[in-house]
């Protein structure tokens, strides 16, 4: 099931600068797994070894916040990876 992932600037070193990429998956977990197959190492920068979304990462499916990796994703959805941190 194809969807689009919007890549924030801190992670574009993995995508050769691309701001979005097409991947497959019917859950956020599957989308991130496919993303990591295409761009190895990227998932661990967002998801820790206990399968938790890292503190300063937010994931959205379209406009809906995804608080867990089982969140469903449908064909044509956009998954947004947001880096959430302020300060110097």
């Amino acid at each position: 099931m194809g969807c689009t992932v919007r890549i924030p600037s801190p992670l574009r070193s993995y995508t050769n600068g691309a701001a979005s990429t097409a991947v497959n998956g019917s859950t956020v977990a599957e989308v991130l797994a496919d993303l990591d197959r295409r761009f190895p190492g990227m998932r661990f920068r967002m998801i820790d070894e206990q399968e938790r979304i890292r503190q300063h990462i937010r994931l959205y499916v379209n406009t809906r916040a995804a608080t867990h990796l089982a969140e469903p994703v449908r064909a044509g959805d956009e998954v947004h990876v947001i880096c959430a941190l302020t300060g110097g």
Partner: protein, 389 residues
């Protein structure tokens, strides 16, 4: 992930390289830099930044092959990782399996590495082996030059580990650091935790035991606790591996094995200076010589140069006495802080010493600390200064 050195600083690289005597690797809160001295250590060429914006806790070259350099990195947003270079830092590749705890079992506290804080090359006979220390306190090992990291279960899953490392850490979190390998015996290891104490293994990390007798821990109500201490930096002498020095939250200590009781050698420091600080650096040619950089540990722990007058102190008799070295350093209003990885020596004769400050300055001495000068300023907060040939 690949990154190239900043091109603007490499115009005369090849001709300059021919007179280089080594590299200072500078890890900062906003990226990594290098300082390369001329043959007489009179001028230093600053290059970088690489990985601008990345938090670099430690960057260490491999003494078994100085072309190989490892860097402990994360960013404000992204999880921790390790980058590897096989060409002296010109290009970098990310570890394919960074340090990570195993998945927690039902009912266990789920630990996740927040930062890779410390890197130690393995024993000289084990090419490709490295150790990493993390926050929260974890020990990891790579046998392929830093490409894939495995949890050292003997420590990370030790039944006493929850008591040894309780999360009572520094403002940056609980830190595992000062991973030391006995050059005579690759199975003999030490590590330190802030806070938690010093621990020793004699079976290549399968089992561990506290090694803190004699060390003060005035922040714990228990008298003479077995662990829970706060070592800031521990160093083992390469010529006499039975000798360890420790700069602790509660003083400067020396331990001569097989003894198990640390001797507080900081009591010989001037009373108005005290013996609180972060780094301790040893003279690789003389087990009796060590340098420390005292910080203000009074009242609310400012951890700045005492009275705004930075000074190095040297002992040449294993801590029986100390001498102040401050020639060339600011005489007043210099409230600098030097963190535990941010002071090192080089391989020169006389020995060169270097330290980096949290306000982005690098200071150098080409005569074992007798005189100092600033060789770089306006860098980001410096976490780490290491030297390689």
């Amino acid at each position: 992930m690949l990154s190239s050195a900043s091109k603007g600083t490499t115009r005369h690289w090849s001709s300059y390289d021919s007179v280089m005597t080594g590299t200072l690797w500078i890890g900062t809160r906003k990226g990594t830099f290098t300082l390369r001295p001329d043959a007489r250590r009179r001028t230093f060429r600053l290059a970088g930044p690489q990985f601008l914006g990345h938090i670099i806790h430690h960057i260490v070259a491999d003494p078994r092959n100085p072309k190989i350099v490892l860097m402990a990195a994360k960013t404000g947003h992204l999880g921790p990782t390790v980058f590897r270079s096989t060409d002296r830092g010109r290009t970098w590749k990310e570890a394919t399996q960074p340090p990570a705890f195993r998945k927690a079992l039902e009912g266990e506290t789920a630990r996740a590495v927040q930062a890779v804080f410390w890197l130690t090359p393995g024993h000289a006979s084990e090419r490709g082996t490295w150790y990493a220390g993390t926050s929260p306190a974890g020990l990891f090992r790579s046998e392929d030059g830093g490409e894939k990291w495995e949890s050292v279960a003997g420590f990370n899953d030790h039944p006493m580990r929850p008591q040894w490392a309780t999360g009572f850490g520094t403002p940056g979190g609980e830190l595992l650091h000062s991973i030391l390998i006995d050059p005579r015996d690759l199975r003999h290891l030490y590590l330190a935790i802030s806070a938690g104490g010093v621990f020793e293994s004699t079976d290549a990390g399968k089992n561990w035991a506290p090694l803190n007798e004699g060390v003060e821990a005035n922040f714990i109500p228990t008298p003479d606790p077995e662990f829970g201490h706060d070592p800031h930096c521990v160093a083992l002498h390469p010529l006499n591996p039975d000798r360890l020095y420790q700069q602790n939250h509660c003083g400067i200590y020396r331990l001569d094995r097989p003894a198990r009781r640390w001797q507080r050698i900081g009591t010989a420091m001037p009373k108005k200076i005290g013996d609180i600080g972060f780094p301790v650096v040893l003279d690789p040619r003389d087990p009796d010589t060590a340098w420390v950089l005292p910080m203000d540990g009074s009242t609310v722990w400012p951890r700045t140069a005492i009275e705004g007058k930075p000074a190095i102190f040297v002992t040449k008799n294993a801590g029986k006495s100390w001498r102040r070295l401050d020639k060339g350093l600011p005489r007043a209003q210099a409230w600098l802080t030097v963190l535990r990885q941010a002071m090192c020596s080089d391989a020169g004769k006389p020995l060169g010493l270097y330290f980096g400050t949290t306000n982005g300055e690098v200071w150098a001495s080409a005569n074992a600390g007798e005189a100092w000068r600033c060789i770089a300023r306006h860098l980001p907060m410096i976490y780490s200064v290491t030297y390689s040939v």
